[in-house]
Symmetry: C2
Subunit: 719 residues, 2 copies
């Protein structure tokens, strides 16, 4: 990309662009309040040399308004010189992502909020369902006093930012709203129930108004919630436990959706403040982790054009994380996250890609980080920001974890180059050397449906008493079962958003939909249309019997004449499918199947079907009544067999389930990523569907925890 | 060891012995009901060639009594020929560990129990607190009908085993009682509350009798439980949730201890059956995982001589495990497990050491397994059994996970040699080439107290409403905080059992005791004696204020004149200790300290002490009011500083916290294990306290996920 940031950065779901030309957004986080001013420029130049075109920084409210109403910037100390930093970035030829909060986290005390705010205005704190505040720096985002204080901070900082946007000749390309919003509630196992923010018990309170908008008649609420209410303001919010009967789950889902509406309102409010100050840069936000992406769907809808949602993809921040290094399980989460962002319309952007860790141990090593970077790239990442590219000493008393914020970053707190930096440069070199990658598409041979409702259900529907197959369980099954199996079986999956129409046109690529017992009427109808028009789909492990409000609705099952309800049974069953015997998993019995259904698999002890295929309109559907955690070769064989019945044609053939592949193709070249995310060397012969026919990519021995990428030009391919 | 198993195997906490000579117990699991008979001998010979001296097998009740009262053995099929297998082992020159159940698990349906038992006698099933059975093959161990059926099975199988023990010229060296007992309850988040087994509501029921024995007067129970009871039989058992007020925790602890008494009774009952049939081999049992070891303390006490407790040390059995390969976190668990077994009087024995996995994916690779084996060895393992050494086809319909029980074992189901076998042979070669290892002792420079009460508290005391520092949290802190820090700081810890006297003699090696708010009066008194007599100890993060029945008792705190209660606060604190600033952790305020106490550390914001040192009698004590998860170099510096104040002299010096060491020394040689359990190569210069002074072991670059061992003979050491 042009080294001089002048033109704005635009984006679509394929990639970022500058003046229409595809660009990879390569950003590194570097804090002017930590890195010594004398070394800003040199470290920025190092970032550029590694391939960087952007630098990101928090702008901590905590530091700039240490006493209420007393603001200080560069005149007070070098480490407060925001403007100097922006000028330096301009001089270095880097775009800037400015992150003025209100929240920063960033291992600052009070998560970067001013201490006086948290200590002297306890009314702004978030509250749990019992009305108690649970943490000294978790606020209620829409509390009027909080917003009033934010307004005052923004009134000071926004004019500075506004004068440094690209349109004013400055370097600011993006302004980030807040930081990992929701995290300060979610991570402490609650939502916010601040009574005055949410307006419980008040006629025109936010929660009563939400219920009135959604249900219109209070009798409807009484009926659905299984309680007697006389007015909307009489409805008390439920604790979020994720368990209960359907009425409980419904109440929790409504409260969670209401809460997410308040988040959208918070974003609108912050954006309004920025826009009022003339900040014309696009806005962005970083979802705290892949699981939280779906929480921001409403924010994305409301913010519209000029807003980018990215996600934070750490693999380890302390010894209690699921893994110490990038594992296959991490890769599946990355894949889901990137696909989710793409489906929301964005170039998948990892706004915090590990550039170290606040923990010195377990360490984020250069080798592991390299693998993490290329894993993210292989699975769709089109831009990133290292958190952090370089650190330095914390301002006096401001660090919550340490006094030296070294972070094990590529450039140490003292400014020395570490091996991690070389890994980052290798990544930059790869991007530079493969300009076609950005406009390539990922080859796919099968599709998995994504129901955003299920992606949010982890908060409100873990388990329902009646034995329905829950949304949280369905998402976990999708991730640990079919998706993982597909990757082990060397299939090339993509996701499609069941809430949209754009995937309906492709009648050739088979679709697998993991269903919970609930699916919106609209999505069920869309799936019926897909089958009618010639689509081919596998449904597992059940078919929905409820709509999005958890009222009876089995449009899809009725159309197919099939029904599998949630009745998972234990391991005394022997599901046998086609040529594959005794597939490990939980059987959900198929209760109804039409006489003309083709039975593809039976439970061996009872002889009852576990997989049935039916025709519908021009299309075909398979119901697979099996739930599994990928573990066995039999799972691969089963999935290939079932997709084979729906005419899947593999794009890649790799005989080793421990090597995962991702194939990207442009008009005249193919890039084949091979990922070994295990800790032993792995060998396989790999072939793929090239641009002119099958290509033998040869036999490869991939070292442990390493991603390699092979490039094939069209003319080199052996047809 | 002698290749001809004739003499019995004895054991003490140092090692196994045959005719007094130290021997490593090297066993491999191989099932006659899976491995084809024609290949038994060859595979056993392969086991021997790998260093094996023992073969283990389940003897599945399920297969031998397929219909009630209808027993079948070798006359029915080769895969039922138990006697043929025992003869074959004798011929191969291998000892045998016979595991006749009742339970096997072993990926057999009904966990290896006969289906007729589970289906036709539902009264034997374990029940949850609501009286409902929760799983079709989880029984109530002491249910009379279950024991009657077990007796019938044992009446048939025990005479066979009795005639093949070593004293009869057979190969059976050990008989295992049951399998991973408690697991079939614990893993489904309950204990057993089968009403008829436990005798709730009955004057002479087991639970009422337990309460009467423990409390004598029902008014005492009423007082302690905070409820009104008129008789012991009126006491209803509590659900085990691990949370509640102190009275709730007390009830749960009592029920759990009662439950563990029933487990001890179960073991006595099974042992009685075996002994009645003349089985004179020592008995053994495999704790299901390191966490469960402490559950068997009562069993161990009651079984006395001739009983061995081992543990199962898997690192991954499916993708949802905490790790895919042996990690540092796994090593800490292994260390704790081996030390616990040693403290119970046993040579640490891993009765199921991963020899593959029921899951094909994530795979147990030869490289990872090699590392797991040597990690276990470095941390004290004195014997093991590969689960499994070799598999084969499951008997028809009997496999719950697959039809071919290949297990990814060193010898495949078809009998082919895999790389994993070579890793196993390398391990055997190492044992053969280092005969001194078995009688070496592990060098140590610091000690950590183990309170077995805390090790069990995970089940009944996660959190108490009053804000006490719970037993479960103390154990987690010990593992993830001080122990991990010690290993990163290249200290060489050992554990000592606070419940015994034998560690009191050593006044030189400093001791660290992680305390919960509760510690038995006896242990508190013992610690006071230790200090009085000249011992040096660090206590963290609180001092006990309750005794073992959760009644007030602060003998230790009173003696020291110090008191820190559980008041963990959030991250706005800056603990500074000696030369170390801003140590990440939760501060537990020291509320009382005598004027003569030496303040070793303060919280910087308030200036209040977070670490105080006092003299007591001849000794010294430090109270450290900090709780942490090891993450930072500061944690290492802090721990070295505090131990340094108590005159610790390090045995090993390694500058890289990512390389962990374990030093074993005999009279004339030192073995230094260096473990790299991360996924990047690691380098360090290492020195250690040799037999004649400090030895420079040189600079070493250890590849990822690899354990190496260096040997130094006394004469080679540079003094």
């Amino acid at each position: 990309m042009s080294p001089i940031p002048v033109s704005p950065i635009t984006f679509d779901r394929l990639c970022f662009r500058v003046e229409g030309k595809p660009v990879y957004l390569y950003s590194g986080e570097m804090h002017y309040f930590r890195v010594p001013k004398a070394d800003w420029l040199r470290r920025m130049q190092l970032l550029k040399e590694a391939g960087g075109n952007c630098v990101a920084t928090y702008i901590p409210w905590l530091l700039h308004e240490p006493e209420e109403g007393q603001f200080r910037f560069g005149e007070a100390a070098d480490w407060l010189d925001l403007e100097g930093f922006l000028q330096c970035a301009r001089e270095a030829g880097l775009y800037v992502i400015a992150r003025p909060g209100p929240y920063q986290y960033s291992e600052l005390i009070y998560d970067g909020l001013p201490g006086w705010l948290c200590e002297q205005y306890p009314e702004v704190l978030a509250q749990d369902v019992e009305g108690k505040s649970f943490r000294s720096s978790s606020v209620s985002y829409l509390h009027p006093v909080f917003l009033e204080k934010v307004q005052r901070w923004f009134d000071v900082v926004c004019p500075i930012l506004a004068s440094y946007t690209l349109s004013k000749g400055g370097p600011i390309a993006f302004v980030q709203l807040d930081n990992e919003t929701i995290g300060i509630h979610e991570w402490f196992n609650t939502l916010d129930y601040n009574r005055s923010t949410m307006g419980f018990g008040k006629e025109n309170g936010r929660y009563p108004r939400f219920l009135a908008r959604r249900y219109e008649d209070i009798r409807r609420v009484s009926g659905l919630y299984g309680r007697e209410y006389t007015s909307f303001s009489a409805v008390e919010p439920p604790p979020i436990t994720g368990v209960g009967n359907l009425a409980d789950i419904r109440r929790q889902r409504d409260y969670f959706e209401f809460y997410l509406e308040t988040i959208a309102e918070y974003f609108q409010t912050l954006a309004g403040m920025l826009r009022a100050h003339g900040i014309d840069a696009p806005l962005m936000h970083n979802s705290g982790n892949p699981t939280m992406n779906a929480y921001f769907q409403r924010v994305v809808e409301q913010m519209g054009e000029g807003f980018l949602l990215g996600s934070d993809h750490y693999y380890n921040l302390d010894q209690n994380w699921a893994q110490n290094h990038p594992t296959p399980q991490y890769a599946v989460r990355v894949f889901l996250s990137n696909e989710m962002l793409r489906l929301m319309g964005f170039p998948p952007t990892v706004l915090e890609l590990p550039g170290g860790s606040a923990a010195d141990w377990p360490p984020v090593t250069a080798e592991d980080a390299h693998t993490a970077y290329f894993t993210n790239l292989a699975l769709g990442m089109k831009g990133h920001n290292y958190y952090v590219f370089s650190g330095g000493p914390n301002p006096p008393g401001a660090g919550s974890t340490t006094d030296s914020y070294d972070y094990g970053a590529g450039i140490s707190a003292e400014g020395e180059i570490r091996p991690l930096y070389r890994a980052q440069k290798e990544f930059g070199d790869f991007i530079r050397d493969h300009p076609k990658f950005l406009v390539s598409s990922r080859a796919y041979d099968c599709r998995f449906g994504l129901d955003f409702d299920l992606a949010r259900a982890i908060r409100y529907w873990q388990h329902s008493d009646e034995g329905y197959f829950s949304g949280a369980r369905a998402m976990e099954f999708l991730r640990t079962g079919p998706l993982t199996t597909a990757l082990c079986a060397s299939l090339s999956p993509v996701m499609c958003d069941l809430g949209t129409e754009d995937w309906l046109e492709d009648m050739d690529t088979p679709l697998m939909v993991v269903c919970s017992s609930s699916m919106s009427r609209e999505k069920q109808e869309r799936l019926v249309r897909f089958i009618q028009q010639g689509g081919k789909a596998i449904f597992a492990p059940v078919l929905p019997v409820l709509d999005e409000t958890f009222e009876p609705c089995s449009i899809l099952a009725d159309y197919l004449g099939l029904s599998a309800q949630a009745t998972g049974v234990d391991s005394m069953r022997r599901p046998c499918l086609g040529p594959v015997n005794n597939v490990l998993g939980r059987v959900h019995w198929i209760q109804a199947w039409p006489a003309e259904a083709r039975v593809l698999g039976k439970e061996a002890v009872t002889g009852k079907p576990v997989a049935c295929q039916v025709r519908g309109g021009e299309g075909q559907a398979i119901l697979l009544g099996l739930e599994w955690v990928h573990a066995k070769r039999e799972h691969e064989h089963m999935l290939r067999y079932l997709f084979g019945e729906l005419d899947l044609h593999q794009k890649v053939a790799c005989c080793n389930p421990n090597l995962w592949t991702s194939l990207w193709q442009s008009e005249d070249s193919s890039l084949l990523f091979i990922m070994n995310l295990l800790t032993a060397p792995m060998t396989a012969r790999i072939q793929f569907q090239g641009l002119r026919g099958w290509v033998d990519a040869g036999e490869h021995n991939i070292p442990p925890v390493r991603v390699v990428c092979l490039e094939f030009n069209k003319q080199d391919e052996s047809g």
